[in-house]
């Protein structure tokens, strides 16, 4: 009978072989926002929806889109915009766990068959990486989906009306079952087994077995990675452990959903702001405070009075050569226009370039005549005029004067 030999082995944080770290589930202010803390691993999931046209081969079904983001906050190894292997692996596993198991009724997401269906988008943000990202991500995703409410839709003949939250209460999604992933890490070619590895344990493990199960003891997905060889009874034993864990976690999710529902119903405060722990020394909260405005008007008046007189208004554009306009005067035109204008007669783009204070430049691209509207006339620090040059390419003088 295979049994993990762990007599002389203790985990870094004092847990036993089959122990999970403490899981904390909380919800945000808007529907579909869920935070999961698995020990120190912290994950946030947000569900949103929008109406789109369905796929051609499945006109009656809505779509679900999963997106896991490895925030650079979670670990110094994660960089923005880099499609790492870990990210692809996590995304794929979450999709298999939630989409292929058909835990959400996609047909109920159909509004008008073949034209408009709901697309549910699940964004999972990893905030702190302390191991076992897959479990935490699956818990967060399924809890957020259970928490989410989509807007109510009314169909009258040809007309479809989407009601906002104020007009009609939003409707929850219809979810058949809640698949949850449980991860097992193996060490020394399958001799030792640990449930819920933390980040350091993950770094030294040989292989990982991930079982996605729901509380009805149905396996939704199994994935073994790392190239370890597992015996049949090892896998069966793991699935038994997984079923126990999954039922515990499902109960936890349901309790958290209940608490949140109660808080919203009684009008109590809910959301991330409320879950800020008060008894900790690193947290502080203040109440609504008033801002003194007694002498503000006098102060503002004073500053405006002390300010300098604005410069004169800008003169109207001057046409120095065919195809050129100039606003402002003084500086010599160094564009060498006579030669350029002949060469670029084919070009049809028009560029208006205005130089503003402190080299703050603004470029506007318009079709024929740019409008000479100045957002603001600035104070010039240096003495010396500012001149603006507008060069028109490829237009005759006739067009540009209008």
């Amino acid at each position: 009978m295979w049994e993990p030999k762990l007599k002389y082995c203790t985990r870094l944080d004092g847990r036993q072989t089959y122990d999970y770290r403490s899981i904390k589930i909380s919800f945000g202010t808007d529907y579909g926002c869920c935070f999961v803390d698995l020990g120190k691993t912290r994950i946030m999931a947000q569900v949103s929806c929008e109406l789109i046209t369905p796929k051609e081969n499945r006109p009656n079904e809505g779509l679900i889109f999963f997106n896991i983001e490895l925030s650079p906050m979670a670990s110094p190894a994660f960089e923005m915009g880099r499609q790492s292997e870990l990210l692809v692996k996590l995304n794929r596993q979450l999709e298999r766990c939630l989409r292929n198991s058909k835990c959400i009724d996609t047909e109920s997401l159909c509004v008008v068959s073949g034209e408009k269906v709901w697309q549910i988008r699940v964004d999972v943000h990893l905030l702190n990486h302390d191991g076992n990202l897959m479990d935490a991500a699956s818990i967060a995703a399924i809890a957020a989906l259970c928490h989410f409410r989509r807007p109510d839709v009314g169909i009258q003949g040809e007309e479809v009306t989407v009601y906002s939250t104020e007009e009609r209460d939003p409707i929850p999604l219809s979810i058949y079952h809640m698949p949850i992933c449980v991860s097992f890490s193996f060490f020394q070619q399958g001799t030792y087994l640990l449930v819920d590895p933390c980040e350091r344990e993950e770094r030294v493990m040989d292989g990982l077995l991930m079982i996605a199960m729901n509380k009805h003891r149905e396996i939704c997905s199994i994935q073994s990675s790392g190239g370890i060889m597992l015996l049949k009874d090892q896998v069966l034993r793991c699935s038994k452990i997984a079923s126990v864990k999954v039922s515990e976690i499902t109960e936890l999710i349901n309790k958290a959903l209940e608490n949140d529902k109660k808080a919203r119903k009684t009008g109590g405060k809910f959301g991330f702001a409320e879950s800020l722990p008060q008894e900790r020394i690193t947290a502080l909260k203040t109440d609504v405070s008033h801002v003194e405005m007694s002498d503000v008007k006098e102060k503002a008046n004073e500053i405006v009075q002390r300010a300098e007189v604005p410069p004169q208004t800008v003169p109207s554009p001057v046409l120095t050569a065919p195809g050129t306009g100039q606003v402002g005067e003084g500086l010599e035109n160094s564009w060498g226009l006579k030669e350029e204008e002949e060469e670029e007669e084919e070009d049809e783009t028009v560029e208006l370039k205005m130089e503003l204070e402190e080299g703050h430049e603004e470029k506007g691209r318009g079709n024929y005549l740019p409008k000479f509207c100045f957002p603001w006339v600035s104070e010039t620090d240096s003495p010396g005029p500012r001149s603006v040059c507008a060069v028109f390419y490829g237009h005759s003088l006739q067009d540009s004067t209008e």
Partner: protein, 249 residues
């Protein structure tokens, strides 16, 4: 003489290294802005050191708007990004839904320039400082929430700074009233929305980002109100730090 001229623009002015009173808006205005009811700051809260991996982390909550910030640094920098005499600061902003777009990039720039003006980056040449900001819930005044959480995270990471900074958002509603720390509904109906980063040593404006039309007089009023409001925020920083080190010092 121009009478009430209104200024229509979207500006992002960052005063790096030379914060000064923005008295460069010169049109005199005869418009009067009424300020009968006093503006309020929503209740705010902060938690520091809540994530184990980043060197510094903070979560800042203003009413219902909450933001999570994480700081890594000083750390090794890529050769392509290194600066020979100072640290390279990189700000990454993550929206809740979807990929980051232009709006996030614009806000990143605002936050980055404020941080660069206050950090003593010359103490860590050829290093990188990474600041990651995550939107947890947006209920108005998002940019000022970013600034406040960034400052607390930098403090938590122990990075040397020449001054602290606080972000304050002011909105001018259709009646001409000044509202500080507006929520999302108030922001939507406002005529103008302004965010200022105020420094702690001399209460000067470090960064301003505005949207909408307003007069010069209104702008100066909003700056003055923001400076008053920043007093509360700096007092809050002080209280948080005092509370945090109350057991050790």
């Amino acid at each position: 003489m121009p009478s009430s001229l209104s200024v229509q623009m979207t500006t992002q002015i960052s005063y790096v290294k030379s914060p000064r009173q923005s008295s460069s808006f010169l049109f005199t205005s005869t418009m009067d802005v009424c300020a009968s009811s006093s503006p309020t700051l929503r209740e705010f809260g902060c938690e520091q050191n809540l994530l184990s991996r980043p060197d510094g982390s903070s979560s800042f909550v203003q009413g219902d708007t909450s933001v999570l910030a994480g700081v890594y640094g000083p750390a090794e920098v890529k050769v392509s990004k290194e600066i020979y005499d100072r640290a390279t600061l990189e700000v990454v902003m993550q929206p809740k839904v979807g990929l980051p777009g232009v709006r996030e990039r614009a806000r990143e720039q605002c936050v980055r320039e404020t941080c660069e003006a206050s950090l003593l980056s010359t103490l860590h040449p050829r290093s990188s400082l990474t600041l990651v900001l995550q939107v947890v819930h947006d209920d108005g005044s998002l940019l000022s929430c970013f600034l406040n959480s960034a400052c607390m995270a930098l403090m938590d990471a122990g990075l040397p700074m020449s001054c602290l900074f606080a972000g304050v958002t002011c909105a001018i509603d259709t009646d001409g009233q000044v509202i500080t720390d507006p929520n999302a509904a108030q922001e939507k109906e406002s005529r103008a929305l302004m965010t200022f980063a105020i420094d702690s040593t001399e209460r000067r404006v470090m960064m301003s980002s505005t949207r909408g039309s307003f007069t010069v007089h209104e702008l100066q009023q909003c700056i003055a109100v923001s400076q008053k409001a920043s007093d509360k925020i700096f007092q809050f920083y002080r209280d948080s730090v005092r509370r945090r080190y109350s057991k050790t010092l």
